[in-house]
Amino acid sequence: MGAYGEGAAIVPDTLLSATTSPRVDLHNPSVARVYDFLLGGSAYWAIDRSFGERVIKKFPEFRNIAKANRLLVDRVVRHLVGRGVRQFVDVGSGVLSSGNTHQIANEVAPDTKVVYVDNDPVAVAHAEILLDQEGDPDRHVVVNADLRDPDELWRQVSSTHVVDEDEPLAVLMFSVLHSLPPKPGDSVTRLMARYRELIPAGSYLGISHLTCDGVPKELPRKLAVLRRLCDDWPIGRAYCRSHTAVEALLGDFQPIEPGMVWAPEWHPEESTSEVRFAKPSHSALWAGVGQKR
C-alpha cells in the first residue's frame, strides 16, 4: 500500500480536538462554512472564503467532490423515501443552505421527519434559525452533539421526541466519518459498532467517505496539498480510507444495491442535477447504504 493508502492521514491527529470542540471558534475557518462556500452558499465568512479559495486554487476538483457529496445526499434521501423511510437523522449536517434533507424529503413525502446533528455551534444556530422560518417544529429539529459520543448523540436525538424509534429511520453520515482518524485499538470500528447497535431494526445507515484508493494518480498529491493547507490554518481533518475499510463501517448491515460504489454511481437515476466527472473514481468518494435486518 502506498503512502496515500488505507488510513493515510491528510492532517496530523493532534489537531483533531481543536476543531471538533463545541466552543465556537471565531478566528479560524470551519469545515461546515467552507463546505457552504464550495457549494455556492451564502453562510460563510470571509475567512472561510479565503481558505476555500486557496483550496480551489491548488485543488480545483475539490469543489466538484463537495458537490458530488451533496447530490449524493439528495439521491439517498429520495431513494429511501421511495423505500418507505419517513425519518432521517442527518449527522454532520453542517450549515443548512439549499438542498437540505428536510427540503428534499418534503418534496417527495411531506410527512417526513428530520433530526439534524452537528457539533459546530454556528452550523447549529443556522439550522435552528432556518427551521424557525420554514420548518415544522413537530418534524424538524437540530441538536448539538458530537459524532464521537454515540450514546450522548442518540440520547439527544431521542430527547427531541421527533423520531419514533419503533419505526424505521435512516441515519446519514455523509462526508463526516473521514474526520475520525485511524487509531490504534480500532476505536472507529467500535464507534460504528455502537451506532449500529443504537439504530433500530429495519433502519438504514448511509455513509460516504473520502478515499485515495483507486483514484486518478494526480489526486493523492493534491490531497497532500489539502493536508498542508489544513495544517496551516488549522481546520478539520479528513482521513482517507480504502474501499474495504469504508465497507467495514457498515458492519453486518445488509448493503442495498448497488453496494459500496463511487458516489456518482449510487442510483444516478434519482438525480435531479449532476456534476460531471471524467470517471466516477474522480469523485474520490465511496458511498453506500446498509439496512439493519
Partner: protein
C-alpha cells in the same frame, strides 16, 4: 396525548414553545399570531418569541392561550407544568442581558418606521453587523452553544428592518473609524468580513442608503451615535434613540429632534455619496484579503 417533559431547561422551553405553536395551528378556523396577540393585548412579535422559545410566558398569559386554543385537560396540565418549570429556570443570565434587551426593543420598532437616520462612529448598528462581528462582541458568553444561537437569532431579527413588507428607508452614515474598530481587535480578516458584508447588504436591499464619513471630511466635530426613527402612522411618535454605558434613552422633545436633524444635515453634507462609499468599502475589502497562497 402524552407530553413528555425534557430534563434539560433549554429543551423544556423549546418543548413549551413547540406545543403552544402546535395548539394554535390546530385551531379551526385558523388563528394567526396576530390574532392571538390581539386577544392577549400584546404584539405579534411576542407571540412569535414565545413559540420560538426566545421568551417565557406568564401564568396569566398561558391560561388565556389554553382557553383560546381550547386544548384538552391533559394537554393543559402539561403546558402548565412546563411553564412552571420554565419560570423556575428563570431567564437566561448574561452579563449583557440589559444591552440585548435594549436592542430587542429597538428591533421591534425599527421595521415599523418610515425612515431611519443613523449616525455611528466606532460601533456598527445591529442590522449591519456580520455574524463574525456580532459573535466577536459576545465572545466571552459563547462557551454555551445555546448562546451562539441566541446571538445569531437576535442578529436575524434586526435584519428584518430590511426584509419586512414596505421597509423603512434606512439611511446610515458610518464614520470611517467604525470600519477599523473591530470587536476584540482589528484584524484584516475581520475588516474584510465586515466590509464584504456591508457591500452585500447594499446590493441586496435598495432601501438601504449607506454612506461613509471619512477622516478627512471637512466637519468641525462629530457628535455621539444616534438613531432617528420617523413614522407615518399615528401609533408611534418620532424619536431619537441613543445609548450610553448601562442604558439607553428615547429623545422625543422638539428641541432634541431638531438638533439631531441639524447634525444629520451637517454629516450628510460632507459624507461620501453612496457610489463613492461603495468604492471605499471595496478598497477595504480587497486590502483585508491576505496575500495569495
Amino acid at each position: 396525548m402524552t407530553i413528555r417533559v425534557n430534563e434539560d431547561a433549554t429543551a423544556r422551553r423549546q418543548q413549551l414553545g413547540r406545543l403552544l405553536r402546535r395548539a394554535r395551528e390546530a385551531v379551526r378556523p385558523k388563528l394567526t399570531q396576530e390574532a392571538v396577540a390581539a386577544a392577549l393585548g400584546c404584539r405579534q412579535a411576542k407571540i412569535n418569541k414565545i413559540e420560538t422559545k426566545l421568551v417565557g410566558i406568564s401564568r396569566s398569559e398561558l391560561e388565556k392561550l389554553i382557553d383560546l386554543y381550547d386544548v384538552s385537560e391533559s394537554e393543559a396540565a402539561e403546558l402548565r407544568k412546563l411553564a412552571e418549570l420554565d419560570q423556575q429556570d428563570g431567564p437566561a443570565r448574561t452579563k449583557f442581558g440589559n444591552t440585548l434587551s435594549a436592542f430587542g426593543e429597538l428591533g421591534e420598532v425599527e421595521p415599523e418606521a418610515s425612515e431611519i437616520r443613523c449616525w455611528h462612529s466606532e460601533r456598527l448598528p445591529g442590522p449591519l453587523q456580520s455574524e463574525m462581528y456580532r459573535l466577536r462582541q459576545h465572545e466571552p458568553l459563547l462557551a454555551d452553544g445555546n448562546e451562539v444561537t441566541r446571538v445569531l437569532r437576535e442578529l436575524t431579527a434586526r435584519t428584518k428592518v430590511f426584509t419586512v413588507p414596505n421597509p423603512p428607508l434606512y439611511r446610515v452614515i458610518l464614520s470611517e473609524s467604525s470600519l477599523h474598530r473591530m470587536p476584540g481587535g482589528r484584524t484584516t480578516q475581520m475588516v474584510a468580513d465586515q466590509t464584504g458584508h456591508l457591500l452585500r447588504l447594499m446590493d441586496r436591499y435598495e432601501r438601504l442608503e449607506l454612506r461613509i464619513l471619512t477622516f478627512d471630511a471637512d466637519i468641525p466635530y462629530v457628535d455621539s451615535d444616534f438613531q432617528h426613527l420617523m413614522f407615518d402612522d399615528s401609533v408611534h411618535c418620532e424619536f431619537v434613540y441613543i445609548e450610553y454605558p448601562g442604558g439607553s434613552r428615547k429623545c422625543k422633545n422638539a428641541y432634541e429632534l431638531a438638533q439631531c436633524r441639524e447634525h444629520w444635515a451637517a454629516l450628510s453634507a460632507v459624507a461620501l455619496d453612496v457610489a463613492d462609499s461603495r468604492e471605499f468599502l471595496n478598497g477595504l475589502t480587497s486590502q483585508g484579503r491576505p496575500p495569495a497562497y
